[in-house]
Point group: D2
């Protein structure tokens, strides 16, 4: 635990260096964090941004689409939040909602779902061509771990109001979410915008390794490589075999 | 002249029908109007929207990009103005500025210019795939016609303030603009998002024929086809030969 | 008629001078145009802005308040549209909706209505103290004139779609609107933000006189005073007696 | 220390109750947190919002005014962030910048400064009349405490980038800031929108007492009064005598 705190602190110092470098070079970074309910998205994002400059850092967690959003190009509502020069933007959930919660909960039609997969690769390609460094992380937990986290939340007066109706159905819909996740990874992983998967049953290990992976994938001045060796039992680039090896939860 | 007014009125009634149909069907339309300074963009747009419902109609004429705009994805500042369901949006100038005024005046780098041509086709494809009906019109006038219009403006106390520094150089840069136009048409015309060229020396003919062309290219209830025969001496889909036949001004 | 065109043109040249002066001095102007349905608000505003610089001119016609608007400070949704330095802003309808259509149609509560009158004077005072030049015009027509205009609209295929359900009840609610207007004028007229009333049965006279009044109330370079004598049978500063003298329609 | 954690946790449970009540009743709350650099504004705000619902909670820390902001009504840029029904908004610094940093650093003119004091009371009155519950807190630290905090920041690699040029002059300008604070409190404290002062040399005591004061000043269901006794050595409503009693630092 002290170990965790020390490592986290060292990594956060690296993040500060990274940001300083990116601001100076006017680079732009977009990190997408996906994962089921209670997978730990909020927690890792909190550690990522904790010591960064608020002016150049933005965490984007859009609510459900408005009526007007639904009347426009699916990606449109995300576009104003894309990073400008020097900005570090994190999407807590993203356009991949269409392939996850919208698919499972029936919030989009079959046709919209299929169209999403046709459009997501060219869309991301375009952002990357425009100079955005895109990183896509998927936090994966087991069914029993999710259940335990929900139970803990329910008992915590500081957290129980956070449980949404959608959360309540997450366990029931477990298999559907697994299937949707598999489809999403299969159809939106590619060399230009690859997915990185994180075993997230252990929160601390997940946070540490996501940050290591992010840092080691980007160039910046004063990088301390020795700190950045990620644990391949926790984090790996997506591979189709993952479903069989158990790296992805059933 | 009375003839013009009558025809225009009849076409505007068609536009009202078109809009009513599009609102009911939740269709979306985006019309791009391009052309040199003084080509008559404002005039034709005024007639297009004159009797349409303001709530569902939007004319977008963005000023020069802000510092923040320049720090983002080139297309980003246009995205919030794209049509939602039922909306009729007209861009008075557009992302094609990069291939025209920005190229000629040196407002963008060679690399940005080249990148624009790589990205514009996939970008437009994406909008079309998302259900937007895109129409691209280029108003083309002769060098002497432009000069005359500038002179008329200068003498008109209600118009002379409109003359911008960029306008003042339009005649001097005539050949550069012709060249930029040729490149733009050659590299951004395709079957999915074709350019339509309008000989615009005669303002009234240009207006009438653009509206006819737009109406006949779209489906709507109660369409009066007899009204919509455009004059091929005035308006034609872009063809590479146009430069040689004189349909495009030198 | 030719007379009208000539005078209008001369006044529009004055408006261009006014704007040029205001842009140079970084002054700010806000014109509120109120009046019943079909009183001619759109028409006069069109002539006001016809030859002004679009970049520094803004016509604001807000739709009905959104759910979020209704959850905020009543004036909040208008604030982003207030003029910045050098800007000329015209509100086509305004916060006075609360004292007019919202009152008559029952879109606000009695309490909200009363609160509006408590707040409108300090709010306008604040804007004026901050350097905004505020002008408030009320276009007043007779009941029969309104009816005729509605009939004309219904027969015009280019205008009939504009007739809203609220318009349709305007004749039935005539007396209620008269009463609401009287209350509004009585309770929101003061020396700092006075109302100016325009007899608007004659559209051309209304337009000419509103523009004259506006111009003569503001200082600008090169002002041609001779042009600006308004007709006191058409336009007058609000006075309580107006209801009795028939200057305000019953 | 464990004590602190326990009390804080208990108070945060109260904050959750408060928010639930406010959401249900559609109440609106605006908390202004002011104080010199390093007074601990960020820290207390972090504890306030830690467990609140992000959708209904907003922390607003505006950067320096843009050129456009400076061309508008001084309060204008704050208005879009005011709370809607059910929202809990915290301003980390606020319009009082004009009376503090802008005054001391010379970012506004004498006339703007004086005008601010004329306008701030009616402006706040208006917000309160519109149903916003406004609370204004001023965190006050000693000169030596500020210096120590700056030194600690400089030595911390996770914090040193946060030190702005304005911070660097805070010690030099100490007396000017004290004077500006005194003027601000004297001229903007009133019964409708009173200031509450917090001795903030001890961070934990400051946080605990601010939260207690806020909670006890608002009505909500299930309030645990026993928890909310604030310490009058730490927190008091502003009184002119405070400057002499040493409650406000010299
Ligand atoms: N520095 C610049 N960088 C990019 N585009 C610019 C720049 N300055 C002007 N433009 C664009 O050039 C176009 C022509 O400008 P101008 O002749 O002033 O306006 P208009 O023809 O629309 O009245 C406009 O679309 C404007 O946005
Ligand atoms: N439910 C509502 N609540 C408040 N205002 C409304 C409501 N419905 C319409 N209005 C307002 O009433 C005014 C008149 O409506 P309408 O006649 O439809 O529009 P217009 O006269 O602007 O064409 C508009 O300013 C509109 O915003
Ligand atoms: N030129 C300026 N004009 C007005 N306000 C300014 C200006 N520069 C900075 N400020 C304001 O001064 C305050 C203090 O600035 P700074 O110490 O840099 O930020 P912070 O204390 O919020 O980290 C901020 O609210 C900022 O908006
Ligand atoms: N009706 C809906 N349509 C689309 N997305 C939704 C809808 N309702 C909720 N969501 C999304 O589902 C995700 C999980 O919701 P929640 O658990 O309520 O935070 C969020 O990203 C929501 O934006």
């Amino acid at each position: 635990m002290d170990d965790y705190k020390e490592i986290l602190r060292a990594l956060q110092i690296e993040l500060v260096k990274l940001q300083r470098h990116f601001i100076a070079c006017e680079h732009r970074i977009l990190v997408i964090v996906e994962g089921r309910d209670a997978a730990g998205k909020d927690g890792v994002i909190k550690r990522l941004v904790q010591h960064l400059s608020p002016r150049e850092t933005r965490v984007v967690a859009l609510g459900k689409p408005s009526a007007r959003d639904e009347a426009t190009w699916y990606f449109q509502r995300y576009v104003p939040y894309l990073p400008a020069s020097g900005e570090f933007v994190i999407f807590n959930r993203s356009w991949y909602n269409r392939a996850g919660v919208e698919r499972v909960m029936g919030f989009c039609s079959e046709e919209e779902y299929q169209r999403f997969f046709l459009m997501v690769a060219p869309f991301e390609q375009m952002l990357i061509d425009s100079g955005i460094q895109l990183r896509k992380y998927f936090l994966d937990i087991d069914k029993s771990e999710q259940q335990q986290r929900f139970l803990a939340r329910e008992q915590d007066p500081l957290a129980n109001w956070k449980i949404s109706p959608i959360d309540r159905e997450a366990q029931v819909n477990w298999a559907n979410y697994s299937h949707a996740r598999n489809e999403m990874l299969r159809r939106s992983h590619n060399d230009i915008a690859p997915w990185v998967i994180i075993r997230a049953n252990n929160k601390k290990a997940a946070r540490i390794n996501l940050i290591k992976s992010l840092l080691s994938s980007l160039d910046y001045e004063g990088k301390d490589e020795a700190l950045l060796k990620a644990d391949s039992k926790i984090i790996q680039r997506y591979k189709p075999e993952m479903r069989d090896t158990g790296f992805l939860a059933d």
